[in-house]
Symmetry: C2
Subunit: 350 residues, 2 copies
DNA sequence: AGTGAAAATGTCAGCGCTGTCAATCAGCCT
DNA sequence: AGGCTGATTGACAGCGCTGACATTTTCACT
């Protein structure tokens, strides 16, 4: 039995469009889905009808009939600026591909991470997922995804999977270059503040630092390498420990801007004049980078662009062909060095 | 013709569950949708079958048959910490209600804001939307929503609509209290830095300041009220202008922490000792509040909780009854004052 | 003009649920 | 026991679209 149509809501159906264009519903469907095998003139006619009727295909019906969902999942562990920038980029790209993005929190540390993910995937029938670090490196997550045969794009994974595309930036080179800037300004004792364990960024940024030091024939004083976790409070402790060393470092490279800001703060509290007595470098070009004085020399990440690219990669997956194009796509996005007032030549008296 | 089922993907259908439980599919449907009129014992049997088969109803099919989408839209204009905290809370609540959240950027300033919104609503067939400021005050947006008959929850709207629920916090009272703290410490010349025009927060926070000043019989020096826009850079300018006044203010109340941090920075650059020569107060308890020295006295917003409540309100809408419960739900969430080192007694010599 | 192959278009069932309404059942009264 | 009422349950079509396959059209070439 035919029920009353919802009043006003929703738009015309595909049949109405077909009538208006003088073709069968199937042909309209072909046009909507951009299938080949429709004469240009016919396509034009259909498109016109769609416009005239302001027709929007019914997602649920398309999904049910075609066994699709048009949904991409974006999973994150930590809310924050990074996430919201990233998702803004990803949504933009999804719109162009006529996909939609479901942004979902997922606790990396929770023992239920697998079950939670699994439920979401099956409930939403996601066509693909994007994993933000550190989720991109969780074996439990990868297992679920593989079992469900869901394509995943990993953002800055520590260990790139052979069969999973990834997007990252060359943090190592950027840190190497910025460390070299410090070396060129005469710094020899440089402290390094590590990020949270288990992140690619943590590893790569340190390696870049080591690269530059070794290339200049300098040894790294283990006392001057402190384990932070990307957070300000921890950065404060690290900085204090470093600045308590003798001889004191003349520069500190922090793995992100929050910790760099902490270094600035700690130094100031110890009465040091910045940047004369201490140079500080950070990473991310976070808002705080321009909120401290002197403003931080840092590295700008194109976060929104990374989001855009991640969404683009997902849409390259061919479900019914062989899956990912070969070789599996990997994108490395360029980083931009941002030189600001927080670095200066090394003091003489050191 | 029956096509081959997708291999492995997806779960059992409602028919399989019905078979296992020895009831008709319709009864399973009743249980899933929590309809009344199912005997407790029958319900139990169905639930068991669902568990055993790990059945997940097909969203697309439910949507198509029931003319629903199970989707709530969250629209934002500005990415950032606020957004990502908010959405985390909203998603949590949505999960409990078996709804899903689509987070979508929408440029408030764009002339296409209406068209963009309209497309999204019709494409996704959203069942409700949450509007973050300043979208919550855009007439164009409200018109679209009303025309499409979509329930909307407004977050911190300037002008609460009679027929639209809203969630907000009593910024006015919080600022009044904190201003009083300054007054009690002997401050008389207090500068106030406004937020971006068009936000409820901007208006309410200023009113709270004015309340406290007037309650103490003090006049507000127009020179000491400067128009910022919630951003650090602008805050820096505002602070410089204020601190250039004679006599200099002994305290500055900024409408958010970024601008308060700017005030700290500006004061420091002018050689003032903080908090001895200048007290500073912010709002939000943003990360930067504990990254500057001295740490900012501020107001903590329960952002995640606001998100949760917004999602809860949306699910109170009764599409086929009279719409919103009466009176239209409005929630005011409590704010927490956070007293930190950035305020001190007013200096004598002023 | 006639032929065959490829291109374009159409037909129709069915995706997995839920709305409508009909059928059945349990409990209660006379 | 029979009849009545309200509570449960079931039968069935159809939501709007797309997959598989059938049919028609087009067009190059004989």
């Amino acid at each position: 039995m035919r029920r009353a149509a919802a009043p006003g809501r929703g738009s015309a159906t595909i049949e109405v469009v077909a009538g208006q264009a003088g073709v069968s519903p199937k042909t309209v469907s072909r046009v909507i889905n951009n299938e080949r095998g429709v004469r240009a003139e016919t396509r034009e006619r259909v498109l016109t009808a769609i416009q005239q009727l302001d027709y929007q295909p019914n997602l649920a019906a398309r999904g049910l009939a075609g066994d699709r969902s048009f949904l991409i999942g974006l999973f994150y562990d930590q809310p924050g600026d990074y996430l919201s920038e990233f998702q803004t980029g990803a949504v933009q790209r999804c719109r162009e591909a006529n996909l939609h993005l479901m942004v979902e929190p997922l606790e990396a540390a929770s023992p239920d991470v697998g079950r939670d993910l699994s439920t979401l995937i099956r409930q939403l029938r996601l066509e693909g997922v994007i994993l933000l670090p550190p989720l991109s490196d969780l074996p439990a997550v990868q297992a679920i995804l593989a079992a469900a045969d869901i394509p995943a794009v990993h953002i800055a994974p520590m260990h790139a999977q052979d069969d999973a595309p990834s997007v990252d930036t060359d943090d190592r080179a950027a840190v190497r270059q910025l460390t070299t800037e410090l070396l060129q300004r005469g710094h020899r004792r440089i402290g390094f503040m590590l990020g949270r364990a288990g992140h690619r960024a943590t590893e790569q940024r340190y390696l870049g630092f080591a690269d530059a030091m070794h290339a200049s024939g300098l040894d790294i004083d283990p006392q001057l390498v402190q384990a932070g976790n990307f957070e300000f409070a921890e950065g404060l402790e690290c900085a204090r420990r470093m600045l308590g060393c003798h001889p004191r470092p003349t520069a500190i490279f922090a793995s992100n801007d929050d910790m760099a800001a902490a270094a600035v703060s700690a130094a100031r509290q110890m009465g040091l004049a910045l940047p004369r007595q201490l140079s500080v470098v950070g990473f991310d070009d976070a808002p705080v980078a321009t909120m401290v004085w002197p403003q931080l020399t840092t590295v700008r990440q194109p976060v929104r662009e990374i989001g855009r690219v991640a969404a683009e990669l997902i849409s390259q997956y061919q479900p019914h062909r062989q899956g990912w194009p070969r070789p599996v796509p990997r994108r490395h996005l360029p980083l931009e060095l941002v030189l600001r007032g927080s670095i200066a030549p090394a003091p003489r008296d050191c």
